[in-house]
Amino acid sequence: MTSTATDSTVRRRRAFSPKDRLTLTAFVGIPTAFHILLVWVPAIGTIGLSFTFWSGIHISDIKWAGLQNYNNILTGTPVFWDAIWHNVIWLLWFGLIATPLGILLAYQIDRQIRGHRFYESAFFVPVVLSLAVTGIIWNFMLQPGGFVQGILGRDIGNPISIYGNYDINTYVILGIASWRHIGYIMLLYLSGLKSVDASLKEASAIDGATEWQTFRKVILPTMKPVNIIIIVITVIDSLRAFDIVYMIYGSSTGWPILGILVFQNISGGGMSMKGAAYAVILFALCIGPMISYLKQSFAEDVK
């Protein structure tokens, strides 16, 4: 780490030719300008909008609302707490079950267990599909008159309730989401594992480490950059979940989740400020853990 630091100090001292400067300015400046224009301006605009009453159409109709939208959401909108609950379950499920499963799978495939090529491609296929397509596929499978109901011997007049049953729909949706997420994590981790020096594993095997010890003490620390990416992806994917739920339930409130509330309020008539407030809450939930985690891991790097 120290060597990298000295490198950059040396680099900074080097004099740039005017041409270098121009190139640098162009390469850094243009993307930055676009980034600010397309990401930061709308983001700050959304945050501002969340403190107003606005139908979303004429700028002149904006009225200052202070914290009223947030107050309305936190105290007057029971569906918000349902949505938070669903997002939390989603996060826990991904964090504790789906992501570890993906890692485990990657590890096993990397060890070239029998049939590893088959497993690899089988779990990889759902990753190619967009979440919206995933939602459509499972909708066809599970809806009344669909494949699963047919196997269970239920016709449309005598179906079992899946999406409408609060006792099971959460697990059904998380199962569908995991179907894709596990393969995605597997893929990311597998590419990381391929780059781990095989001699490390050999060395720990010679030292008499068990499979689990090798994984925990040797592989996992070596994989740190990939681990960070996976944690970030898991958290963000859980919080911004939208596509599958929207495909299954439409825009409405069958299984509320923050992403759906943002969309429903902004797209319907006249509630864009409430949608903006939901978006800000979602943003705060995403950015908080993200910053603290990244800070922590960078701090460890410097040490």
Partner: protein, 432 residues
């Protein structure tokens, strides 16, 4: 209906309406120049509904219009729900010139925002073809017209005549709630779903709520409730849900899994006795086969409280608006004028469309028995309401009432808490 709502509008919205009116006048002045010529250039029509029956009549009517006028129309068909969800963005972007839409609050909101073209001139030209109540339903808060009615349909009990005959039941002779419960019981005994309901979309069950409230508490209470003049915590509303709950044992067990298409399929495949639905879906029966369509029938929801009888019905008016941001608003006006006129509606009816025309001069001799029955069901009622999501604020109907009814269907015993939540959310809405 509309006059009730107008009583409730705030000073702010009146002022806003006046401002929009001013804009409308200014625009009207510059547009007068275009009125003389018949050539209005190519125009676009945004249609709702991707079902075969819907696409079919849109295409037939488009062809008829092109033949009649020589104008060129580009028809863009959209998924009904998705179109509804994205209308605000659609109208602010590059909308089609004329598009399918609904009367009432759903039109007024966009008219207030200046996104709809004033079509008063079209009303001046063909307004005498419509009843006065339709003009009121087409009028924005600034007193100008923004909507042209084309068709209307009743929300009632739909059933298959053959199924009911097999069961030995006659829904046309249900006198009251007890008879109705007996009918549901008899249907259930034969292994069928007594009262098919889907509420995945969140709006389907509003039809049942509307009619129960109108039957039990009357038109005035229903209208006042939706306008915020009555409280959802009123014992009268709890009474409505008590009746609603009595129907749950006769419903399919997957109400929250299916949407209106699921309900339609239950009736199509003879899995249920009756269901509360708007007659628009009848076109899908006709697409499937004439025999299925001939088997379909509708009766008004039975009387519950003798004081009100069967005096109210949800009979939403569908029609057309012209987008203010369209490329060719004059073309849009010409298009909607023709589509809503007797001639245009005749072309639509000739294409086999199963709706009933909103045009009072329409020749109804071509109506089939089901269309005549729709008319009879609607004409029987003294009061016409639109539908819950058209009769109250948009930021209330779908975001608040829809999940409340879904939660009720999930856990009927929580109704007191649910209704308190609905009222609290109404109270928390920003002033219009």
């Amino acid at each position: 209906m509309m006059s009730e709502q107008n009583n409730g509008i705030s000073r702010r919205s009146v002022l806003k309406g006046a401002a929009v009116g001013g804009l409308g006048l200014a625009a009207g002045g510059s547009l007068l120049a275009g009125c003389g010529s018949k050539d209005v250039g190519p125009m676009k029509w945004g249609g709702r509904g991707l079902e075969e029956s819907s696409v079919q009549w849109h295409e037939a009517v488009k062809a008829a219009y092109e033949t009649a006028t020589g104008n060129t129309v580009t028809l863009n068909m959209n998924d009904s729900n998705a179109f509804q969800d994205s209308l605000s963005q659609y109208l602010q972007g590059t909308p089609d010139d004329g598009f399918d839409w609904m009367a009432g609050y759903r039109m007024q909101f966009y008219a207030d925002q200046g996104l709809l073209e004033d079509v008063s001139s079209v009303w001046d030209s063909i307004g005498d073809q419509f009843a006065e109540s339709y003009k009121i339903a087409s009028t924005g808060s600034d007193g100008k017209q923004y909507f042209l009615p084309t068709s209307w349909y009743p929300w009632g009990l739909h059933y298959r005549k053959s199924t009911m005959t097999e069961l030995g039941l006659d829904p046309e002779n249900i006198a009251n709630w007890d008879d109705f419960m007996k009918m549901l019981e008899a249907t259930k005994k034969k292994g069928l779903i007594g009262y098919a309901l889907g509420d995945k979309g969140g709006w389907e069950a509003m039809g049942t709520f509307d009619i129960l409230n109108a039957r039990i508490n009357g038109y005035q209470f229903h209208v006042d409730l939706l306008a915020g003049k009555e409280k959802w915590t009123d014992a009268k509303v709890a009474e409505v849900f008590k009746y609603f709950e009595m129907m749950i044992p006769y419903m399919n067990k997957n109400v929250l899994d299916i949407s209106w298409e699921g309900m339609r399929d239950l009736l199509l495949q003879k899995k249920c006795g009756a269901m509360m639905m708007g007659s628009w879906f009848s076109g899908d029966f006709k697409t499937l086969s004439q025999a299925d369509y001939d088997d379909l029938w509708i009766v008004p929801f039975p009387e519950i409280n003798p004081e009100f009888g069967r005096d109210t019905i949800d009979a939403p008016i569908d029609g057309l608006c012209v987008a203010a941001n369209g490329e060719n608003p004059e073309g849009g006006k010409a298009l909607v004028e023709w589509l809503a006129s007797k001639e245009g509606m005749q072309a639509r009816l000739d294409s086999g469309n199963t709706f009933t025309s909103a045009n009072n001069g329409q020749d109804t001799s071509s109506y089939d028995p089901f269309q005549n029955q729709q008319l009879a069901v609607m004409n029987e009622a003294k009061y016409i309401t639109q539908f819950l999501d058209r009769d109250t604020r948009q930021d209330f109907a779908n975001p608040v009432v829809a999940p409340a009814i879904q939660n009720f269907l999930r856990a009927p015993k929580d109704i007191t808490k649910i209704l308190e939540g609905v009222q609290a959310q109404w109270d928390a809405l920003p002033a219009l």
